[in-house]
């Protein structure tokens, strides 16, 4: 089974405050740490698990500057075979559709059976790239996949999709196909430091938009359907109340409000 996994480097915002930068179109990243997008990490693991079970190759692709090599190497350390990093100033301002175009251009020339992406990126939360990629490649897709089983002939797979309320929808799909992987599908392994060091010896093919046979106008803002105008902080509405005081005080106030409104 030849597989391609798309990974993205994202800021880790779980424990950090996020501030809008001076352009109004980005966030201040100086004090943030970066890591592989959570769902992509599960997609990498799923590809490696399939490779370990039935054999095959795992090709890792990322879009971003050289800092993304860190995430690519982590995927290579876990068992990835080859890697491509797409980087180009023309990609600035791309929406999910434009990014999918770049990925599709890179994947089209490969022999692949299965493309895996994360279901959702932790930064923009669009959940678009994987689905758009399938459309551009002209292959079927399944989104929010939480179970993958390769059927005996290796030409079909059975996938379970996570629906609301914990329901699972099972589908049989022809290959090639694109799956967007939901977190929790597996338990991602650890990439050891020595493993990452060894992976640094594997070559990462760096490609520009032109290398992929795309015109710069097909990506970036010009090639996007959605253009980011600005970020704003949520406005404190009339019904919003910010509780002040130390944690004990605010907890007591919150409890009183919840009781008063009959919510508990």
């Amino acid at each position: 089974m030849n597989m391609v996994v798309c990974v993205k480097r994202v800021p880790d915002t779980a424990e950090s405050e996020v501030h809008i930068d001076s352009t109004g179109k980005g966030i201040e990243t100086g004090k943030l740490s970066f890591r592989m997008n959570d769902a992509d990490n599960y997609a990498v693991e799923e590809a490696i698990l399939i490779k370990e079970k039935i054999g095959g190759t795992v090709n890792v692709i990322s879009i971003g500057d050289e800092k993304s090599d860190e995430q690519i190497r982590m995927a290579l350390a876990k068992g990835g075979d080859e890697a491509i990093r797409i980087t180009d100033p023309a990609l600035a301002g791309s929406d999910g559709f434009a990014l999918a175009k770049a990925l599709a251009a890179a994947i089209k020339g490969m022999e692949y059976d299965l493309v895996l992406t994360g279901a959702l990126a932790d930064d923009d939360g669009c959940a678009v790239v994987g689905v758009a990629l399938a459309e551009l490649l002209g292959v079927p897709h399944a989104a929010y996949v939480k179970k993958v089983e390769v059927l005996e002939d290796g030409k079909k797979i059975k996938v379970g999709r996570e629906l609301e309320g914990g329901l699972m929808e099972f589908l049989e799909m022809e290959l090639p196909a694109v799956l967007t992987i939901q977190t929790g599908i597996n338990e991602p392994r650890y990439a050891s430091f020595k493993g990452i060091k060894a992976a640094a010896k594997k070559e990462i093919a760096v490609k520009s938009v032109a290398d992929l046979g795309l015109d710069p106008s097909e990506v970036g803002e010009a090639g996007s359907w959605a253009v980011l105008e600005s970020f704003t902080y949520p406005v404190v509405g009339e019904k919003a109340e910010i509780l002040e005081g130390d944690p004990a005080e605010t907890a007591a106030k919150l409890a009183a409000i919840l009781k008063e409104k009959g919510l508990v």
Partner: protein, 338 residues
Amino acid sequence: MYDTVNQDLLEELSAKPEIWDCTTCWTCAARCPKGLEPMEVLVGLRSIQVEEGKVQPTVRDALQSIFQDGNPWGVPRAKRYDWAEGLDVKILEPEAEEKTDVLVFVCCTDAYDTRVVKVTQALVKVLRAAGVDFGFIGEDESCCGSEVRRLGEEGLFEMCDEENVEMLNSFNVERIVTISPHCYNAMKKEYHGLKHPVLHYTQLLDQLIGEGKLKLSGNYEKVVTYHDPCYLGKQNDIYEEPRRILTSIPGVDFREFDRCRERSLCCEGGGGKMWVESESTEERLAEVRVRDAREMGAQVIAVACPFCLLTLEDATKVQGLEEEMQVMDILEILSEVL
């Protein structure tokens, strides 16, 4: 004598969950009549699992967090000095012309854990009272790597060793003082090429009290016992300093555990155990320890290690003893009697 059969046996051994029960307390080595260090075998077996990526998610996340953010607690580097807010501490500049006496190496648990930062804050108060010229690395400080090595992640420990030695050597200081015995042990015994002498804070404070620079004027009328941290006692023979400090506090009624010094019972906080879910159903050693303390009538269990503080305090809560018995770092007691 290393062949595929042995390789298979090692794989089989390394897959046993018990290898993660070891707290690397050193009791096996301290008592070994042949001077061996059996626990290193377990650490070696762990490293087989680590290289294959087969570690518990909690261990994986801790190690990854050290690689990415320099601490095992999953907190950004930018928050590493939040504990010092409002304290106006000196942040050292590399290659500074003026020499600072003491570089305090805080490390991760003392920098981030909401309970343990109180110890670090107490240290600032105590060193100021003693008139010590001291400073900190600031946000650029990274994990000492002691637990990394015990979890079997040798490669990442080498990175901690290399990067920390380079950074620590860049500061113009007389000596390095650690708060945690785990940092002390790593720097003293496992780092390569560190040019500054390293002390545990109990050694420095014992000196300061002996020289009359740290005066303890308050009264602390409590029954206090001392729990020897494995990485300070058994592994580095620092037994007298903490005891001299505690017995010099006016009012303290000091009592010893039956199992003290070389025979001290481990709290189970070391050896990477803060991040390992144990499959063992046996009673936790920290609970045994707290029960022993209660039987001797101790009101305070004094410790000199962040992991001992957390595990023993948890044990007092599990046993419903948190009202009648306190677990405190020596620094916290000192800060009350200045």
